[in-house]
């Protein structure tokens, strides 16, 4: 009997450990391969110059700028709307069927495949609103995709603020908005920030939503207005690896490396903020 327990214990340890390893392995392998093949091609010129010879030479500057602009555009729409909606749902809305409907919508919004967002953006922003394939249309499409992430993260951060703080605030005669703005939000900001950045880093790497709404196949100049098309890294990678013959593997890997690094920087920033504020948190 006791022998048996020991064997099962060892088996459980092995299986649990293996499952954990399976999570880490892809990250490590992807990073290793991308760095191995991509790092040699990475140079100042590669990052800061225009593509030449049908993207087979030169750099990827417009794609980097395009992705940065799209991320900022997405942030500009999704952060205010997401945070305000989350505050409403968490701090103002009563527990009724309407709130429930909002919550179900958000859950479903999060489950919609990204290509459907792309087609939705094409129909609504590009065609119906007449924005054309543009940074505006692309940012709005990415925003809608990012909203559920930001709303959910914000609500979690708001819910983590102890009820007692709200009670005291009300009992001192503070209004609901004073309570939210002076007590709840300041204590929820780290969580909101972390979730928001993670949502944006996801958006920065998406291809399908920008496919029909903004991404340019080849546009060796920087965008001038929100109504311009733009190149973007995820789509550029797709183009380099499937649409253009004879692109050197090194160029492809270096482009991937740049995108991976950009997303990593955002994720590390999120982790840093979380760690920093966790140390300060005392309740």
């Amino acid at each position: 009997m006791r022998e048996n327990t020991k064997v099962i214990e060892k088996l459980a340890f092995a299986i649990l450990g293996l499952a954990t390893l399976i999570i880490i392995a892809p990250v490590g392998i992807i990073l290793f391969i991308v760095l191995w093949h991509g790092l040699p091609g990475l140079s100042f010129e590669f990052i800061f110059s225009m593509p030449r010879e049908g993207m087979r030479a030169g750099g990827i500057f417009p794609a980097i700028v395009g992705t940065l602009v799209l991320t900022v555009g997405t942030a500009a729409f999704s952060i205010p709307v997401g945070i305000l909606a989350a505050i409403y749902l968490n701090e103002y809305a009563g527990r009724n069927w309407l709130t429930r409907l909002f919550e179900i919508s958000i859950i479903n919004l999060a489950g919609i495949p990204s290509i459907v967002y792309g087609l939705f953006g094409l129909g609504l922003f590009v065609t119906f609103f007449g924005f054309g394939a543009s940074i505006l249309a692309g940012s709005l499409t990415l925003s809608i995709m990012t909203l559920p992430v930001i709303i959910t993260a914000t609500r979690e951060a708001l819910s983590a603020v102890p009820m007692a703080f709200r009670e005291v605030s009300f009992s001192l005669g503070a209004s609901r908005w004073q309570t939210v703005s002076r007590v709840v939000l300041p204590n929820a900001i780290p969580g909101i920030l972390t979730g928001t950045i993670l949502g944006l880093s996801r958006a920065a790497g998406e291809t399908a939503p920008i496919l029909f709404t903004v991404a340019a196949f080849y546009l060796p100049r920087l965008p001038q207005s929100p109504f311009d098309q733009a190149m973007a890294l995820p789509y550029h990678i797709y183009v380099l690896s499937t649409q253009v013959p004879n692109v050197s593997l090194r160029t492809q890997y270096s482009t991937v490396l740049v995108l991976v690094l950009m997303v990593f920087i955002l994720n590390i920033a999120a982790a840093y903020i979380r760690a920093k504020f966790r140390r300060r948190k005392t309740w």
Binding site: E167, V168, S169, S171, L172, G173, A174, W283
Partner: protein
């Protein structure tokens, strides 16, 4: 009478938590509310500043007059009411801010003062709870690093800073050790000169020590309300006598 309660009924959904409560509390007096857990004493206290409004599905009927105004009137200005009727909670609950910011919170919310005037309010409030000498050089210290007793005093100071008339205390000493409890009780005796206090306590000795009047709650009803001395020496109701002699609770 600073508080006068007529025929108060209170419901959580279908459950009636308070049944026909009638009570009058005197100005500059400490009124204690005792009774076993779940008897409705805390619920009653939270009716007096309408904190129960925060809980969904509650219903209140009857009349509660605070300084002559019926606060159950739907047109009652809750901000004004809660400025007048402040609350101290069971667990010390300072905001995770500095001592100064904690006390400045109320005055800022009500736009009572800023700059030098605000500093003066902070000083007076801390003096009122006998914390000024201890904390005058540590106003920027995080309030959560104080001892529990100091935190509870700070919470009282935070309340005093909005200049209320009535202090509701919901088992304010239950998280404190006996020595701290004694000091907070002494503080209450000082505070009663300027404020009218209603305190909920599960500690009968505390009620006997600090209060002038005591009400005994049982199963949502106010069984008996009288001068504290009489409640503890010659209760009229059999149930009160059973409770104070420790037969249940």
């Amino acid at each position: 009478m600073i508080v006068k309660v007529n025929k108060l009924d209170f419901y959580y959904g279908k459950f009636q938590a308070l049944i026909d409560v009638n009570l009058e509390a005197k100005k500059n007096e400490i009124t204690a509310l005792i009774g076993p857990s779940g008897c409705g004493k805390s619920t009653f206290l939270r009716c007096l500043n309408r904190m129960n409004d925060l809980i969904e599905g509650t219903r209140t009927t009857g009349e509660i007059f605070v300084e002559g105004e019926n606060i159950l009137d739907p047109n009652t200005d809750l901000v004004k009411l809660r400025k007048k009727v402040g609350m101290v909670f069971q667990r010390p609950n300072p905001f995770p801010l500095s001592v100064f910011e904690n006390i400045a919170f109320g005055p800022r919310v009500h736009h009572l003062a800023k700059g030098k005037e605000l500093e003066e309010i902070v000083r007076q409030s801390l003096e009122a709870v006998l914390l000024w000498d201890k904390l005058k050089d540590q106003l920027s210290r995080n309030a959560l690093t104080l001892s529990l007793e100091a935190q509870q005093r700070l919470c009282i100071a935070r309340l005093i800073a909005v200049k209320p008339d009535i202090l509701l205390m919901d088992e304010p000493c239950s998280a404190l050790d006996p020595v701290s409890t004694q000091r907070v009780e002494e503080l209450m005796q000082i505070l009663k000169q300027d404020y009218s206090i209603l305190i909920v306590t599960h500690n009968m000795q505390q009620a006997a020590r600090v209060s002038g009047f005591t009400g005994f709650f049982l199963l949502g009803k106010l069984i008996e309300f009288d001068i504290t001395g009489r409640i503890f020496t010659a209760p009229r109701d059999r149930r009160t006598e059973d409770y104070i002699t420790g037969r249940y609770g």
